[in-house]
Symmetry: C2
Subunit: 345 residues, 2 copies
Amino acid sequence: MSPAESRSSTAGTRRPTLNAVAARAGVGRGTVSRVINGSPKVSARSRAAVERAIAELGYVPNRAARSLATRRTDSVALVVPEAETRLFTEPYFSGIITGVSAGLADSGMQMLLVLPRDEKEYARLADYLSAQRVDGVLLMSVRSEDTLPDRLRELAVPTVLAGRRSREEPLRHVRCDNRGGARDAVRHLLGRGRAAVGTITGPLHMDAARDRLDGYRAALREAGAGEELVAHGDFTEGGGRAAMRELLRRHPALDAVFAASDVMASGAVLELRAAGRRVPDDVAVVGFDDSIVARHIDPPLTSVRQPLQKMGRAMASLLLDEIAGSGTGRHEVVLPTELIVRASA
Amino acid sequence: MSPAESRSSTAGTRRPTLNAVAARAGVGRGTVSRVINGSPKVSARSRAAVERAIAELGYVPNRAARSLATRRTDSVALVVPEAETRLFTEPYFSGIITGVSAGLADSGMQMLLVLPRDEKEYARLADYLSAQRVDGVLLMSVRSEDTLPDRLRELAVPTVLAGRRSREEPLRHVRCDNRGGARDAVRHLLGRGRAAVGTITGPLHMDAARDRLDGYRAALREAGAGEELVAHGDFTEGGGRAAMRELLRRHPALDAVFAASDVMASGAVLELRAAGRRVPDDVAVVGFDDSIVARHIDPPLTSVRQPLQKMGRAMASLLLDEIAGSGTGRHEVVLPTELIVRASA
DNA sequence: ATGCCGCGTGGGAGCGGTCCCACGGGTGGT
DNA sequence: ACCACCCGTGGGACCGCTCCCACGCGGCAT
């Protein structure tokens, strides 16, 4: 038999159905179905017969048929707006996705990766996803003004967000302790004897950026020391540079900076160097995210790491809870961060 | 109506079916189906009526039902071995995934992201995927000795690989011109007056690594100049350092290095610095991949960029061809690279 | 007129599961 | 001995779509 023949014959051969299994095992369809779904209402005898038949036939249930009958799809969508896919390169997405995948693995759920390319596609997503295509949705990087989550909520599509839009987020979500992480970072700087600690914030319409700023303030306050030295960035390297320049202009005596992201921190380092300041000798720098760049810029960056895998797992778990309808699940999960100390501070 | 009520009522309300559309439009089910599937055998009158009914009802076809009837799933799996997910952080995966997503978008295909966590899960994938779960498979980073592709082939599951296992790869695949890219890199070094150009290879059981080494050799040969200075790495930073150390030991006069990956190149830079050589003054360095680290290490790395998005699109396109059964599609697609010149060479 | 062709068209018969109802046979209580 | 009950079981009726066959009807050639 030539490869081609073997191929087509394999393709032509229909996979065994539940009916075939029933016939072979000498039982009814119902019984086979019960065995497959782990119902206890099956005698040991029938169960054994069915299991043997399944093994012999290499039977695998047809997802589409089951889905049609149960009105479930056993799959969830992971939505990452295209504007963010460049950030794929950050450990953030990769870590969370890996965690989600792990958290979903044992549930038999499939993970659909959805990357809307523009606003239009993103806007149509609610209809798309609610059209019995998925049992639940995981939304990455929602913006404060984003209404897709609300639409999904109206459509009763189980949804879990990575991060929250505001402090009154009505949807379930998972995030790291941005405030605590920032506070730890600033404490670290103060603990090393830095006196004038500035901060470069993210865009304040993002909750994470606000929380990190809060953490900075809290650390200063509890230390009872220091004026707040705040400049606003936008999570880009250029934004970090500009903010650093402004900080230096307004507060030339500054000797430490906490940037709300590594990318901004790397911009800050560039600017400091351009201004003739040494890092960390003259100015210590701490970032946030523990991204790739943190390890590779010079000097390596002290940074706040998020437990990304755990966050992903938590998202999966929250979503599975909601899909199962167990209203008991927690509404939000906040996971602690960890300060990774390197040479920059 | 409270939100809760609205929620449950929405959930309880079944979505309109094709039958409902037919009834509303005053036509038969067959006609609605034809309109949806773009059959030409429908009168303008019926078509208009159906389209209006669809719009009024907000009808969206049920995927499961269609899938059951057609024996297609309209979804493809994108498989990334877990061992590689850390590489998610490289632009490689993110770029290709984005490209695949774009290439699939207009076909109505869904993209299933499958991240097997260990060898066992990976091995079971063939059965899993062939059980009518997907219409096709995209395999990232297959190793030379990997047999999953062959199993998929036996099972007649349309498959496209990112990269090839060897020069006799029987499956369709997409890759960049590794040889040409490496050759360009070395030409660049030679063109800048470097005389003793070494290379740090990847693991030679990988086809891409072999091709890059070939490119290095070709460039030396065509220039008629220079001894081959080869050390072997393993695509890790540590491996790059070790290989660089060996090169320096064996060829102290070396004044340029082409590393088969940026990560190894960054290791090489560290080693060079440790050995008191300046980059690029004493030794110029070129990497491969144009990854994140290339932009962020000091000095910024000249590197060979792959057209990742295009590669992803090509993979999608090849797979769609194969699923459609148009045997006309090309067997392999090789896309050109681009040399990104930065400070390191 | 009559026949034939072909174009829309309606609807029956699946696709492969799940759900649930009804049924047979054993058990226990009166 | 009788009934009530429960447990395991078989199979009908869907789930919502596609496929395809058969049919009605108008236009054209005969």
